[in-house]
């Protein structure tokens, strides 16, 4: 019996019509009719301004929109200045669209994009989110150019973040990934990034697309795949980012399930690579490598601490099975401390995370439950961070972040020890 293909015949027909391209812009969508036209204009303007000679395709992969997102994508006309003489662009900028499923999935969307990139032999690709409301033509170019012109295989974005924005990335994902995989890529989980056709082909070949971790957040997996294959990674500073209300993202429980769950799964699937790595290296960075703004309101601290304390208490047997005795004891101790003097030390935080990662590896309990058990501890760490940084300058916060990163790197042998230990 013939194997099923996830590529619909209509999509394949569209790809045949496009033929080989140099650049591919993927726009995953789900009910984005209100913002898609603006996104398209920015993308097309970027291609016109920056890649006038290149063969390009804009690919919309839709997760079953009910608001005519796809029709809008196909039908909206390229904006041409009145009185224009000559060509608007040298080449046809192809626009194709497919519905990969009846419900949205970042992973399935990316699967279609990398398949298209592979079939069309695209040299440089970029994923652009239609929920980003301040997308400019330069963003698209900045993510494509390092791949197309400088041979990078993965380009992560860098955004201006307010002090209290992106804490999960700054306190967990970035420093942990940096320590383990040895590459200093700050924004592993983002809605815009660039990648090479070579990386797309490598990703396509991997039999992981059915995995929940990849279906939910495929971008970090793609970056880690690039790092593990010793492909060249970099990051490009794009500036501040604003998103439409539909793009506010999941709550903290869901965010941790998706990102940390995904990251632990990546550790599992790439262990042969990272176990032998030590230290970390900066990656080529275009523009400043970080920028914190002083605006933004800190989240309510009261509730966070209460949830931490109750979580530590309620999940006591689960935490006991995940954490080392000593670590668990330290957490229970700080959970009992006075909230005004609360301190979740970096050393303890790193140790906790490494023990979680090792327990995930050893599957000491259901992995999804394990990841969820991290939520109250993250809240504790978050509370500590907010308490200590209510009035800190951006520089001071950056210094703390760097100290945390170094702590992750310092304790990496401990992770390896726990990871490789027989249970």
């Amino acid at each position: 019996m013939a194997e099923e293909s996830f590529l619909a015949d209509d999509f394949l027909r569209q790809l045949m019509s496009v033929g080989e391209v140099d650049l591919l812009v993927g726009i995953p969508s789900y009910n984005n009719a209100s913002t898609l036209a603006q996104t398209l204009q920015s993308v097309e303007a970027s291609l016109r301004q920056n890649f006038v000679r290149e063969r390009a395709v804009i690919l919309n992969v839709d997760g079953g929109s009910a608001d005519e997102t796809r029709q809008l994508f196909v039908q909206s006309a390229e904006r041409i200045d009145a009185g224009h003489k000559g060509l608007t662009s040298l080449r046809t900028v192809h626009r194709i669209s497919c519905e990969y499923d009846k419900s949205p999935s970042q992973g399935l969307a990316l699967h279609s994009i990398v398949a298209a990139a592979d079939l069309l032999r695209a040299r440089a690709c970029v994923v652009i989110s239609p929920t980003t409301t301040n997308l400019t033509p330069s963003w698209v170019a900045n993510l494509l150019r390092p791949v197309y012109r400088q041979g990078l295989d993965f380009v992560a974005p860098l955004y201006v973040r307010s002090r209290f924005q992106g804490l999960l990335a700054r306190d967990l994902l970035y420093p942990m990934c940096r320590a383990i995989f040895g590459q200093r890529i700050r924004e592993l989980y983002s809605e815009e990034w660039g990648f090479s056709g070579r990386l797309a082909s490598q990703c396509l070949e991997k039999d992981v697309w059915h995995e929940e971790a990849v279906r939910a957040r495929p971008e970090a997996w793609m970056a880690i795949t690039a790092i593990s294959a010793d492909l060249k990674c970099g990051q490009y500073f794009l500036g501040p980012k604003t998103a439409s209300p539909t793009g506010t993202g999941p709550d903290i429980v869901e965010a941790i399930r998706q990102t940390v769950g995904n990251f632990f799964w990546c550790l599992e699937t790439n262990q042969a690579n990272w176990l032998s790595r030590s230290n970390s290296q900066p990656v080529p960075t275009f523009g400043p490598d970080h920028e914190l703004s002083l605006d933004g309101i800190p989240p309510s601290q009261e509730k966070i601490f209460d949830l931490f304390r109750s979580g530590v208490s309620e999940l006591e047997p689960i935490l006991a099975s995940i954490l080392a005795q000593d670590t668990h004891a330290q957490i229970e101790a700080i959970a009992l401390s006075d909230r005004s003097n609360f301190h979740f030390a970096p050393e303890l935080w790193v140790k906790t995370l490494y023990e979680f990662a090792a327990s995930y590896h050893h599957a000491v309990l259901n992995r999804d439950h394990l990841v969820q058990a991290l939520v109250p501890l993250y809240r504790g760490r978050l509370y500590s961070f907010l308490l200590e940084n209510a009035n800190s300058s951006a520089e001071a916060m950056e210094t703390q972040s760097e100290i945390l990163c170094q702590e992750f790197e310092r304790q990496k042998p401990y992770l390896i020890e726990k990871w490789t230990a027989k249970r």
Binding site: R13, Q14, M16, S17, V18, G19, E20, V52, R53, R55, K85, G86, L87, T88, S89, L90, R91, T92, H94
Partner: protein, 546 residues
């Protein structure tokens, strides 16, 4: 304006452009002449063309290849006599080949007696036949056309101690068309040649006839008045004669030269030409579609003239900077290939001698709306010599055979007006008429066949065009239609095989018949019509409902 069908001959023409100097030398002086050209008329008839456009053959100091005319009513002695021209004309007409001559109306040579008189003193009666000024600051901002050689549109005349206006080279002073006497003089010139029997004129550099302060001095209303006046006189006294405009402008600007069918019969479609080259290099139909979408409708009796290459550089004036840079990078990497705002190369070398691409472009030329012009030598794939200076590299002797001087002349090679192309790829030993005549599969034989096919179906010359828009942008497809006659043209612009699905629902139940092999293809049904094409392949299908 109603014209008899026979008077619309220019719409059905396939024009062959040549310079008499380049074609065949009958007297062994190293320069082509009218007797030589006459001796080659059988070849041209065999090729299937039905009109010849002759480049200037008048007495001239030849500082601009004859576009600097010193006497409008005679023949340059090197090319023969006026009688030789008349004999040639008769011989051409006997073969049903019409003859279009060059009429350089905008300017003369500075050696022309008119100018010699005009400059002799400020009081001379012919002084006002040219445009003079005491300063070189009039008409500031008017663009300079020959940017590589000229710094100003004014030149100092040391004899009459004033400046004269010239839009081209400084040795080509512009005539003053505000002077009615000049118009009458030029009409007398036209009458002279029309009385002899020429079938039409290509009017050179028409946008520049009139100058006005505060304008670009191009396309002015007064210029159109002059053209209308010439046209009116021709229609009255010489019905069936044709005026062809050389106006290197955007289609919307050229449109005005057709007037209401009361100015030019034909005009060159300059912007289409570079875009055909661009489309093939880009492997994308967009450049062609977009420029044709910007092309306005013209009166029924009028026609565009389309061409691939000619005696000038491949002009890149009517393209954007981005397009020009692209064309330079793709087709003129060697700076010696560039001149002014263009590329001085022939068709075959530009296509890297790729027969498939030469055929594709020729097929496009012959199947698009408009009267096609074939530049001499391109039918055999002649090469060029970019080191000859100016545009002389594309004006080398015609290559008739592999023998002495390529069969062009019996003179010593050193005496030829131009060196022959002699490199191993394009040299006359490799590329010549005789050798290609011997092969049914040569470019020459193919060109004959495709011209013959075009000539057999009036839909190509007079039919409408409807572009199909298959999702595969590497394929350019259109339907030409004239009454019940329908032809489907499908071109693969790319270097790789392509599949294309065409929406031919309008032609459901029709049978496509491939026009060169006359083979039947599957009848058009309900589904999109699937075709596969090899690299640079094209099909012409006659759509018949039987």
């Amino acid at each position: 304006m109603l014209l008899q069908d026979e008077n619309l001959w220019y719409k059905d023409a396939v024009i062959y452009q040549l310079h008499v100097r380049t074609f065949c030398d009958s007297n062994g002086d190293g320069i082509g002449d009218f007797r030589g050209l006459t001796s080659k008329l059988d070849y041209l008839q065999e090729l299937g063309i039905n009109a010849i456009w002759l480049l200037p053959f008048y007495p001239s100091p030849l500082r601009d290849d004859g576009y600097d005319i010193a006497d409008y009513t005679s023949v340059h002695p090197a090319y023969g006599s006026l009688q030789d021209f008349k004999d040639f004309l008769t011989a051409a007409h006997n073969r049903r080949i019409r003859v279009i001559t060059e009429m350089v109306v905008n300017h003369t040579s500075d050696q022309h007696p008119w100018f010699q008189e005009a400059r002799s003193s400020r009081e001379n009666p012919k002084r006002d036949w040219y445009v003079w000024s005491d300063t070189d600051s009039r008409y500031q901002g008017v663009r300079i056309i020959f940017v590589d050689t000229e710094m100003s549109n004014w030149a100092w005349d040391p004899i009459s101690k004033s400046y004269y206006w010239h839009r081209f080279f400084s040795h080509q002073p512009d005539l003053n068309y505000d002077n009615p006497v000049v118009r009458e003089a030029m009409w007398e010139v036209m009458k002279f040649w029309l009385d002899i029997g020429v079938d039409g004129f290509r009017l050179d550099a028409v946008p520049y006839l009139i100058e006005r302060d505060g304008t670009s001095c191009e396309n002015l209303p007064e210029t159109h008045e002059i053209i209308r006046d010439f046209r009116k006189r021709i229609d009255l006294a010489y019905p069936g004669k044709m005026l062809l405009a050389e106006a290197n402008q955007w289609p919307a600007d050229v449109r005005s030269y057709f007037g209401n069918g009361d100015e030019f019969h034909m005009a060159f479609h300059f912007p289409l030409m570079p875009r055909m080259f661009m489309a093939v290099k880009l492997e994308d139909r967009k450049p062609i579609i977009e420029i044709l979408e910007q092309t306005p409708q013209i009166p029924d009796a009028c026609q565009w003239c389309v061409f691939l290459r000619n005696h000038d550089e491949l002009t890149l004036e009517m393209v954007t900077d981005i397009e020009r840079d692209y064309m330079y990078d793709e087709y003129a990497v060697d700076k010696a290939m560039r001149i002014n705002l263009g590329i001085r190369r022939r068709l075959a070398p530009m296509m890297e001698n790729d027969r498939r691409r030469v055929e594709l472009l020729t097929g496009l030329l012959l199947s698009m709306p408009g009267t096609p012009i074939i530049y001499y030598g391109d039918e055999i794939g002649m090469g060029d010599n970019i080191y000859l200076g100016d545009r002389n590299g594309v004006r080398t002797p015609m290559q008739w055979n592999g023998g002495w001087n390529a069969g062009f002349s019996s003179a010593d090679p050193e005496r030829l007006y131009s060196p022959l192309i002699s490199n191993p790829v394009y040299g006359y030993q490799a590329i010549n008429v005789d050798s290609q005549r011997r092969s049914a599969h040569s470019l020459l034989s193919w060109t004959k066949s495709v011209i013959q096919t075009r000539n057999a179906f009036r839909v190509f010359s007079r039919g409408s065009i409807e572009f199909l828009n298959p999702s595969n942008h590497r394929v350019l497809a259109y339907v030409r239609r004239l009454g019940e006659e329908k032809v489907l043209v499908v071109n693969n612009l790319s270097s790789s095989a392509q599949a294309v699905e065409l929406n031919l629902q309008m032609y459901k139940r029709h049978i496509p018949i491939e026009m060169f092999g006359r083979n039947l293809f599957p009848r058009i049904g309900d589904l999109p019509y699937l075709l596969t094409l090899g690299p640079y392949q094209f099909y012409w299908f006659r759509l018949r409902r039987i």
